[in-house]
Structure formats: structure tokens, C-alpha cells
């Protein structure tokens, strides 16, 4: 008899809960979203009768895709799909005749298989009921719609612009800050980095609302301007306001990874640069900056990704004129989750591609350290 395999508590065993967690909460929703993005549900049914084709011709063109119990019709609904439209054939016990229910281009046709009779009211009720249960079919319509629809493209490009500008400003502020921090003495450095991290402990919505009270029409900045006799500025509901708050919110995510790579740079490498005749600026440009690229790229990813999908900030600071793709997805998702899913899949692919590009470019210098925090 074979010995029962013993469970051994190895180090890998500790990762199992996480793997299970990942499957349940990451992989499953991901699969769902991808599935939704490639499907649609037939909606806006109206009923008409197919007079042109005989039921045999219709049936010949159909592929069986599955069936479902239908209690209201007290029978089995069988689903067919011909590439364009969905057909449900329902064998009813109530009536001796069998009706075909044909969905074409989002519309339903009911066919009396035997007699070509018109439908009775009773069946119409049943058809309405059927709509709720059925009608999922595969399509790339959602994606086509995104790229052919000027509105969603516009929102998308606007979010790209806002996220890009926020990332650029974060980098412009973050790199010098991280550099100065890394040069500080250990004690001051700790104090200062806490000051940078402190805002992260405040709820992010609260922080955003705090900014709103600052830049509102009757807000603090305008009050001050007013008291000095300067004209009030219209800051709210502009892209500038959205970018400002995004930079404020995401700056720590830029500073930290850069700072982490900077403090890991071997001091003697920098000295070697001075030794070989490079002054401080040239050393910064030729040695420190290239060696900080892993940190910069993870900083860029960590600001760009949340910036492009963020929707609370643009909603609070930007109003409807500055709706970002995150906001758009949220809005669309409520009414049309298939289109919404496709939008989020597009964003996701874009993110992955850009991350791949960024990290692939300096993949061979991984051992310098840095990377994510």
C-alpha cells in the first residue's frame, strides 16, 4: 500500500493562501470582465414574425450552443446562434405545436413551426419573460464601439493627457525631492520623509475635498486674492485643478521608489565619476540619473496607472467637463456593463503594454535594485 502523502509545512506552503486569494479575488473577476467585454446581451426586443424563411431553412443555418430550463414556459429552451442572431427554440408542453422564437439583430421573431400562424398573446408574455434569461452572445462590438465612438475616444485622450501631465509634474517635483532627501543626514532624512508620507495617512477623498475648499470660487485662495484686491481666479472645474490634485495625491508614489534607488547607489561609483573629471551636474546626468531609472520607471507606473483610472479626483475637482476614462467607465458600467468591461479591458491592456515597455527597457539592470517600493 502506498503511504499517504504527508503535508509538509515548507516555505512555499505559506504562499498557498495567497494563491487561493489571488484566484478568487483577482483571476476570477478578471476573467469575468474579459468575458463581459467580448459579449453582449440582446436587448430592446420587439416581436415580429419571419415570413420569408421556412422554419427548416432557419434551423439549418443555426448552431446549437446550449439550453436552459425555463419554468414559465414549462419546457426546455434550446439556444442556437448563427453568428449574428440568437434563436431560442422552445418546446412547450402546453401547446401541441412548437414555436420557434427567433432573435435577429436584437429583435425576436416567433415562428409557428407547423402552421405559420400568428402568435397568440399568451406567447408574447412568455417571450418577454424569456428576455431576462437569455441573449448573451459573443461579439467584438464593444471594442469597435469604443474606437469608432468619438465621445469615448475624446474622454480617453483627455484622461491620457491629464495622467501624462500629472506624471510629468510628479517626476519634475519628485526626482529633485528624492535626490535632496537621499543626500540628507539619516536623522533629518527620516523626519522629512515622514512629512512627505503624512498626507498619505489622511483619507484620500478628504484630501481632495480639502483642495476643493482651497480653490473653490468662494474658497480660501480666492478669499485671499480678494482681500489683496486681485481678481478672483476660476480654478475649479478645470484640467489644471484636476492635475494639481493628482500631483499632490500621487507625489509620494513617485518620490519613494526614486528615493529608494538613489540611496542604494554605491557612493564610490559617484566618487569615481568625480574622480574621472565630471562635476556635480555631469555626474547627476551621466551616473545618478541612469542608475535611478528603475526607481523612476516604477514611480512613473505608480503615478500614471492610478492617474489614468482615477475618477474621484476628476469628479470632485473637474466636474463633467473633465470627466476621465475612470469616471466614464464608472458611468457606463452602471447602464451597460459589457461596454464598460470592454473599456476597462482596453485600459488594462494599455497599462500592461506601457509597463512592459518601461520595465523591458531597463530589464537587464535589475540588479541595481529599486523597482517597486
Amino acid at each position: 500500500m502506498k503511504a499517504f502523502p504527508k503535508f509538509r509545512l515548507t516555505r512555499t506552503a505559506f504562499s498557498y493562501p495567497y494563491i487561493v486569494f489571488a484566484i478568487i479575488f483577482l483571476v476570477a473577476p478578471l476573467i469575468l470582465v474579459v468575458f463581459y467585454s467580448f459579449t453582449r446581451q440582446v436587448d430592446n426586443y420587439s416581436v415580429y414574425k419571419d415570413f420569408e424563411n421556412s422554419p427548416e431553412v432557419i434551423m439549418d443555418n443555426l448552431d446549437f450552443i446550449g439550453y436552459e430550463e425555463d419554468s414559465a414556459l414549462s419546457g426546455i429552451g434550446t439556444y442556437y446562434y448563427n453568428g449574428e442572431s440568437l434563436t431560442v427554440v422552445n418546446y412547450r408542453e402546453k401547446h401541441p405545436e412548437t414555436y420557434e422564437i427567433f432573435f435577429a439583430d436584437g429583435k425576436i421573431s416567433l415562428i409557428d413551426e407547423y402552421e405559420g400562424d400568428e402568435l397568440i398573446d399568451e406567447n408574447l408574455d412568455n417571450v418577454k419573460f424569456l428576455n431576462r434569461l437569455t441573449g448573451i452572445y459573443f461579439t467584438i462590438d464593444n471594442f469597435v464601439r469604443f474606437f469608432s465612438n468619438g465621445d469615448s475616444m475624446k474622454v480617453f485622450l483627455r484622461s491620457l493627457y491629464i495622467a501624462f501631465m500629472s506624471t510629468v509634474f510628479c517626476l519634475l517635483i519628485g526626482f529633485p525631492t528624492a535626490y535632496v532627501l537621499s543626500k540628507m543626514k539619516e536623522k533629518t532624512r527620516n523626519v522629512v520623509s515622514v512629512m512627505f508620507l503624512l498626507p498619505m495617512w489622511i483619507n484620500f477623498l478628504l484630501r481632495t475635498y480639502a483642495w476643493r475648499t482651497l480653490v473653490e470660487k468662494t474658497g480660501i485662495i480666492n478669499t485671499i486674492l480678494d482681500s489683496v484686491g486681485l481678481p478672483a481666479q476660476n480654478l475649479m472645474y478645470t484640467r489644471g485643478a484636476v492635475i494639481l490634485v493628482m500631483v499632490y495625491d500621487f507625489l509620494p508614489f513617485m518620490i519613494l521608489p526614486i528615493y529608494n534607488t538613489l540611496i542604494k547607489i554605491d557612493r564610490s561609483v559617484i566618487e569615481a565619476s568625480y574622480d574621472l573629471g565630471a562635476n556635480h551636474y555631469r555626474t547627476l546626468f551621466h551616473v545618478i540619473f541612469p542608475l535611478a531609472i528603475p526607481g523612476i520607471s516604477s514611480g512613473v507606473t505608480m503615478t500614471f496607472v492610478p492617474a489614468i483610472t482615477a475618477f474621484a479626483i476628476s469628479k470632485i475637482m473637474g466636474g463633467t467637463q473633465c470627466a476621465t476614462i475612470g469616471e466614464e467607465i464608472e458611468r457606463v458600467f452602471n447602464s451597460d456593463m459589457w461596454f464598460g468591461s470592454a473599456m476597462s479591458v482596453i485600459i488594462m491592456v494599455l497599462m500592461l503594454a506601457s509597463m512592459f515597455l518601461i520595465s523591458g527597457r531597463n530589464g537587464d539592470s535589475d540588479d541595481i535594485g529599486g523597482g517597486l517600493i
Partner: protein, 367 residues
């Protein structure tokens, strides 16, 4: 007299509340191969960093060709460094590393390529231009570091234990190569090591340091043959160090026997330290030696046998290198000649730490 290229004048440095260099004075002549030798932590790297401009001294002056360069930043000094752990640029390939110094001086591209080619030939790395730094062995990285530092044609090259990470065979090869490079280029080398053999084989001048102070400066022969104090004697090769009394010029009393020697200039009857190198002692039959002792151990070391001989009537155990083996337990005679006796000022020598240890301690350690 050769002209001075680097001069340190009364240099003192404290780091972290600790005095690292104490009133250091050092003159280095042009085209010389100078080695700073001393145990780990004695301040060799700090001395180099002061010359390179990476460390500011608390007091004292640094001269370059008789000009004070205290305030000159490293990138303006005509000095280049081979760093202790190479410190190559990890984001550049071999070519990029070597070309860096020239690029910083805005040398035209064509000249850079030429010079890098020359440097690669000098360090035997032709064809390695496009190799990644991480893909090189320790010895190859070392060569890149040397080429990178030499490409700027510095007046002075500072080398901080450049061979420390290499295995013995490679180290020996590189010692010869480095010496050749120094002769070929005529660049002043200031070389740091804690390996006395390396220092003796490569240098024109050896500077022995201890605890932030210079112990002795001299040619390798001087340092070896005429150690100024017990520390130098012990640090440079193995030694038997024991107390003696200088009766008068050229006469010294060791273990109750009057020896002739080549030293003079001490007070009559001054207490001194005596250094006798293990290889200078001859093992003779019992009757023929000046000193008698019992062989306690005899280990074959390749070229010679290393023996410890416990002296009869005196609490010393002598270290002897001899080409002939002796039986353990035999009583033998030991003799040495006036040339082999090195006398040094020695009021406060702690003899217990040296090779000629008192008897009881030697026994303890043997168990």
C-alpha cells in the same frame, strides 16, 4: 633628487569622533611607485581619499607639485583612482566605462575610440569593448577599472587594495602587470595594500602605517632589513623579536652572550629590541651554535621547514626557517651573523605578541 609630486603636511583627520590620521607627513616623488602598507583600519584609504579630494582633512595641507590643493574638488585634480571595489559604472559597458573620463573632457569621439583601444591593449582586454560589466570576472573588472583610471593620463594614480579580491595566482600576475604598466607609463602610483609581500615586490618606496601614524618610510630593502620598530619588524615578514642590551657601538648582549653587530649610535648599555629573521638563523649541531634549544615542531612549507625551537635556560621560543629538517625533541644549536642582527630602540616593546614568545605561552598555544 627627484621632484616632489604629492606632499602631505601635518594632516590630521577625525571621523565619527575618532582620530583617524594623526599629524601625517608624507612626500611622494614623481614617477615613483609608493605603497602605503599597514593593517586594516590604519587609515590607508583615508590617506588616499585626502589625496584624491574625497575627504577633507581637519588640519594640514595637501600639495600637488608644490601647490596647495586643499580646496580643489576631485574632478579638478590631476589624480585618478582605482577604487577598492572597482566602482565601475554598472549602466555602461566596458567601452563606456573607459571612455567616461575622456567624454567628461569633451574629447572628440574619434580620439576617444583610439585612446580606449590603447587602454584595452594595455590591460589585455582587446575585444571586450561591448561586454557588460556584470559579465566580467573579478580580474577583468579590475583591468577595466585600471584602464578607466589611466585613460585620462593622470599624473598620479591612486590604487586602493586593487588586487584584494583576486585569488593568489591572479594576484601575482596582476602585480607584475601593474608594475609593468607603471614603468611603461611613468605615472606615479600610490598603492594601498595590507599585504606586506605585495608591498615589498612592487614598490620603490614603502610607507608602513599603524593607527593613523607613519611608522617607517623606506625602500623595501630598508624596511625589511632595518625595521625601525617592533611593529614594522613584525608586520614585514616573520621575525624573532627579543630584548637585548647595547653594550657599545657594534656590540650587543643577547641572552647573556655578546654578539657583534652592524648597529651603532645607541647609548652604552641601552636597552634595545633585537630582530632576527627566521630565515637568517642557521641550525647547527648542539655544540656549534651560540644558542641552544630543543626543537618543538617542524612543518614542511614548500621551500623550507618552519621550526619552533625552545631555547634552553631562556623563556624564548624561536621561529626558524631552514632548508634542512630537524627531529622534534632534538637539541640543536642556533647561530646567526652580525649582518642578521637588527637592533632598534625598544624601551616599551610588548615582546609577548611577537614570534619569540616566552616559553609558557608557547606551550599553551601548542595544545
Amino acid at each position: 633628487m627627484a621632484e616632489s609630486i604629492i606632499r602631505l603636511e601635518n594632516i590630521s583627520v577625525a571621523l565619527g569622533g575618532e582620530q583617524i590620521l594623526k599629524d601625517l607627513n608624507l612626500n611622494i616623488n614623481d614617477k615613483e611607485f609608493v605603497t602605503l602598507l599597514g593593517p586594516s583600519g590604519c587609515g590607508k584609504t583615508t590617506t588616499l581619499r585626502i589625496i584624491g579630494g574625497f575627504q577633507r582633512q581637519d588640519s594640514g595641507n595637501v600639495f600637488f607639485a608644490d601647490e596647495i590643493i586643499n580646496d580643489l574638488p576631485p574632478y579638478k585634480r590631476n589624480v585618478n583612482t582605482v577604487f577598492q571595489k572597482y566602482a565601475l559604472f554598472p549602466h555602461l559597458n566596458v567601452f563606456g566605462n573607459i571612455a567616461y573620463g575622456l567624454k567628461m573632457q569633451n574629447v572628440p569621439k574619434q580620439v576617444i575610440e583610439e585612446r580606449v583601444g590603447e587602454m584595452l591593449a594595455l590591460v589585455n582586454l582587446r575585444g571586450f569593448e561591448h561586454r557588460n560589466i556584470q559579465s566580467l570576472s573579478g580580474g577583468q573588472q579590475q583591468r577595466v577599472a585600471i584602464a578607466r583610471a589611466l585613460v585620462n593620463n593622470p599624473h598620479v594614480l591612486l590604487l586602493d587594495e586593487p588586487l584584494g579580491a583576486l585569488d593568489l595566482k591572479l594576484r601575482k600576475e596582476m602585480q607584475i602587470e601593474l608594475k609593468n604598466i607603471q614603468v611603461k607609463t611613468g605615472i606615479t602610483f600610490i598603492y594601498v595594500t595590507h599585504d606586506q609581500e605585495e608591498a615589498l615586490t612592487m614598490s620603490d618606496t614603502v610607507v608602513v602605517m599603524k593607527g593613523g601614524e607613519i611608522q617607517q618610510i623606506g625602500t623595501p630593502q630598508d624596511i625589511y632589513n632595518e625595521p625601525k620598530n617592533a611593529f614594522v619588524a613584525d608586520f614585514i615578514g616573520e621575525s624573532n623579536i627579543l630584548p637585548g642590551v647595547m653594550i657599545e657601538d657594534y656590540r650587543v648582549m643577547i641572552c647573556g652572550i655578546l654578539f657583534e653587530c652592524v648597529d651603532k649610535g645607541f647609548d652604552n648599555n641601552e636597552k634595545v629590541g633585537i630582530v632576527v629573521r627566521p630565515e637568517d638563523i642557521e641550525i647547527k649541531p648542539e655544540k656549534e651554535g651560540f644558542l641552544r634549544g630543543v626543537v618543538r615542531s617542524c612543518v614542511f612549507k614548500g621551500v623550507h621547514y618552519e621550526m619552533t625551537v625552545e631555547q634552553i635556560n631562556y623563556p624564548y621560543t624561536w621561529l626558524v626557517h631552514s632548508t634542512d629538517a630537524a627531529q622534534i625533541g632534538d637539541t640543536v644549536g642556533m647561530c646567526f651573523y652580525p649582518n642578521d642582527i637588527h637592533v632598534m630602540k625598544g624601551e616599551d616593546i610588548d615582546y609577548s605578541v611577537f614570534s619569540a614568545v616566552p616559553k609558557d605561552e608557547a606551550e599553551e598555544t601548542e595544545e
